[in-house]
Amino acid sequence: MGVTTAAERAEAVRLRQRFLDLGAQNVDCAILQPAETLLDLYGEDIRARTYVTQDPSRGEVMLRPDFTVPVVQMHMETGAAPSRYTYCGEVFRRQEDHPERPAEYFQVGYELFADDDPAQADAEVFAVFADALAGYDLRAVTGDIGILTAAVMALEISEPRRAALMRHIWRPRRFRALLDRFSGRAPLPPSRKALLKDAKTVATAPMIGLRSEAEIAARVAALRADAAEGPLCRSQVQLIDALLAVRETCSFALEHLHDIAVDLPGLVPAVNRFEQRCNALAARGIDVSALEFEASYGRSSMEYYDGFVFGFVPAQRPDLPPIATGGRYDALTQRLGGGRAAPAVGGVIRPGLLLQLEGVA
């Protein structure tokens, strides 16, 4: 600790200048953001991590927890691909479980919106961060949420089950519970068994509330169809397990994923994309034979990333959170754009944390 706000701001401005020098365009974003957009994207959980307040005329507003959403909105309204943006400013995070952590700190970002060649875009953004952080004792970790989603898309299961798994990609425990249920590893709760056995589909209790009789009947029908489907093959679950366990250098991870893809051919395009990214990173001077890859990296904490993800973790300071994080968020742009996507990849550095490290930069 002991980093003053003035020092943190100066460091943030220095880093932003680096990104400006690379040709990124500066973006200023409002601190007060409409809460509804963020709540709809991330769900109720985000309230526990952000400051939400009530405005009599604007409704619920939120102190910006990050810049990604306003930057995407700005780009969708005015920008054309390719565009490179940078920004620096405070973000605000409630720290209920860790009151010792700062609730207000600076972020400096670099975001790239590019329609063509995602591998090149991923590699450019990673290299920009690796460059800016060269000279600090940091361990870089990469991952790819797109490989897990590709595996789920390739599973031999019904569409409702696939949709349920896709919906919980970012909730590892719930995802696991669903897999256990679908594969028959976890038994049905007694109440579900009773419901499936009972021929009647209408309640004896009076209908109250907004959820209609038809909606209830539709879900009962869906549960019956699910029960009739039969278990997901264990070998398919094992492929997901094997995939999630991949944790090695990029070069070995690539070999390993190619092996898994032999049994799950639907995975091939995603593994090829990973390979193209590795090549693009190597072409930018990144040593992929030393760069770490974890298939499950970013799954629980980086919910809007749906492809490449990365983090820079202080090697000697396990007490500190990652100094920089980033990734690809194509699906987020699609949801904010009402169906129109703007493929994007980017990341942020926390200058306040950087100042706590011994650097030679």
Binding site: A48, A177, S191, E215, A222
Partner: protein
Amino acid sequence: MTIKLGVPSKGRLMEKTFDWFGARGIGLARTGNEREYAGAVEGIEGVDLVLLSAGEIPRELAAGRIHLGVTGTDLIREKLVQWDQKVEPLAELGFGQADLIIAVPACWIDVNTLDDLDGAAAAFRAAHGFRMRIATKYHRLVREFLRQGGVADYQLVDSQGATEGTVKNLTAEAVADITSTGETLRANHLKVLEEEPVLRSQATLFRSRNAPLAGADREALRTLTKMLRV
């Protein structure tokens, strides 16, 4: 200085608390007229009775303005972040038992578990275009419980009273509230999910970890806890 003991200022909770202390040789009583919140302590020196709303007792304990306080576990957990660093539970008093539970309309024959609630929430959002509303005043506890349970596509709406009526009034689809017998829920055509409750609560005597203790106070607190056998 004196030891300050915070007790709920009205109703059954106050009376039962007075009985509990009385059974251990400490007489607590309200003084003055019916509307005046003043109290007296008999049977021990150096202890003051502070009558407060049960909902304010967690805050007063955390701030160290009272040394001891009687309130529900539910209120301590909901209102105090890192509650165990601010207060220490000394004794469960054996009354005021209530569970914080999640309840849905009894006509939802397809929803009995958290897993069902999540599935129904996904379908509800797709059909209605907004996240399923759960009415409660226990925002932090319920949100954490649902997060652990992997429930998505819901929203909490604030309800400070008559929560069981929100479903019928179409301001919520489900509720999370305190119940002891479940009678009010049944009367409002709601059923409790077949899960462990979000929290089991009862009236509990807490000690503040933040209240300053001078020499004589320390002695008074020791005498008091000895008499209370806590």
